[in-house]
Symmetry: C2
Subunit: 313 residues, 2 copies
């Protein structure tokens, strides 16, 4: 049986890790200051699919206490990726793989630098959940993952062997988490960015929830125009996404319940925003490929200003 | 002696009209609800160049009470231009000229529709003043005007005769207001927009004064990039403005005292913002000329959203 590490036991890591452990997988949770609480009281997951308590949790405050693991699930906010190497290095062996479940573009690069090329899977998660207390997760909806091999900044790293992907997929499936395979992770990342860039950005800059942005013609038009800027960026980077995906995303957002984007929640709570992963990296990729991406550029600079202003005050 | 009408006796109209009247010109002020107060107490101008009280003011609550005037000075906020025809029509004769002292592009079009082609001067005013009470103006600094003939939406209207311009210029000069002539009003308008578009827009959207915007690299870079977008728009419209003007404007803004743009003051006070004149008209002109002006486009839509949101709440 393979051994899983959950790096970051928050809304996402706590949920997926909890499901894997409940299904009988060998799961080890990096939980920092929550570790003691989880050892004493377990990990509680309240889910629309049924609540459960894992009373016996392998919970650790630091990675140095953890055993070597085969599958390293990176479930931190991408704002912490700069310190990822120090968290992963103590727990890997020569055959470890990383599974990066973060939003944004090239969020896998830090993990790849540690575990090596051809050893990283990336996953786009469609999940609504929150951490509501130490060792306490509330799962609201969804949870499926679109997963594929990370091929490196230059797109030339080899793919993760199919046998490895299948093993991960089987464990998640046993845990009740549907994993869909993609042989083009970057395309999946860009498609998700077509929502995240306009709605995360505008919700922070214009101080509005998604339904407000969709309601007013000016912001609705701006969201759609920004989405097309992301589409053109993706195409400049060689990803063939159809124009219809814009309509699909707009329709989808029209039908969503009023929703605060994760970036807006982070901003309002004074937490770091995932600007690097969701804005800086895609913008740089587009511009390196020869497309100026002016709308992403404006939103990116506005977010940087708001971040700097908040930090100072 | 020619007769002047001041349409809108606020910070700008009250100041210039007051100076003209003090210098002996025949000036008639449209003052709406302030008219009675001004008839009883006069028009008070507190200026860095010396305070004065005009005790005998031709003040009117409605244009219907006013005599026919030769020179119609339009000093309203451009947000009121849709109702300009009804204000001007009662007081013009067949030889009247309009002098439009507003910010933005094609703000003269409404006046031209009333007084006729070849009968409109436009002025870019460099003025810091406020209206601080009924019939009470405080002039803080500057006051010079760059003035030229408005040549119509298509640029083909004939120019105002030199003799008319000279007469206006002489009156203003006698009143202590330096007027510089330009034979290219549109170019002057665009040069002023190179400041107004970035700093009016960003100060509202990012809730910041100009010095804050200049201090942070992200917003400073965005202001400069937006300025270049305005420069490219102007060039698309045939106005030959040099790249150096961007540096001049940035240097100038660096040396300014911390300053709240007029649009931010309007926004914070719940007044209408001059979005049409400063954003919509230049954006349309650029796009009609084949340049997408993406940065102006984003800021414009963001302002429209903030305006709509404020109106609803």
């Amino acid at each position: 049986m393979k051994r899983y590490a959950i790096i970051g036991t928050g809304a996402l890591g706590g949920y997926y890790g909890g499901l894997l452990a409940r299904a009988g997988c060998d799961v080890h949770f990096l939980m920092r200051s929550d570790a003691l609480h989880a050892r004493q009281h377990g990990l509680q997951v309240d889910s629309k699919n049924g609540d459960f308590l894992l009373s016996n949790v392998h919970a650790y405050a630091t990675p140095d206490e953890m055993p070597p693991c085969d599958f390293i699930i990176v479930a931190l906010k991408s704002t912490q990726n700069a310190s990822l190497a120090s968290l992963i290095s103590p727990i890997i062996h020569s055959e470890s793989y990383a599974i990066v479940l973060q939003n944004g573009l090239h969020v896998e690069a830090n993990a790849e630098a540690v575990v090596g090329k051809g050893r990283v899977l990336g996953g786009c998660c469609f999940l609504c959940s929150n951490k509501i207390g130490p060792g306490h997760i509330r799962h609201l909806d969804y949870g499926n993952i679109l997963m594929g091999s990370y091929r490196g900044l230059d797109g030339r790293s080899s793919a993760v062997p199919d046998s490895v992907f299948d093993e991960v997929s089987k464990d998640f499936s046993k845990a009740g988490v549907p994993i869909e395979a993609t042989d083009n992770l970057q395309k999946a990342r860009w498609k998700k960015l077509m929502w995240n860039i306009p709605f995360n950005g505008l919700s922070v800059i214009l101080n509005a929830a998604t339904d407000e942005l969709m309601k007013h013609p000016a912001s609705r038009g701006l969201a759609e125009a920004t989405m097309r800027d992301v589409l053109r960026s993706a195409r400049a980077c060689g990803e063939d996404i159809s124009d219809e995906h814009v309509d699909t995303m707009m329709d989808h957002t029209d039908r969503m319940v009023p929703y605060d984007s994760s970036m807006r929640l982070d901003y309002l709570a004074g937490r770091p925003m995932e600007i690097d992963a969701i804005f800086t990296n895609p913008l740089r990729a587009a511009q390196d490929a020869g497309f100026a991406a002016p709308m992403i550029d404006v939103l990116h600079r506005q977010l940087r200003f708001l971040e700097a202003k908040r930090t100072q005050s």
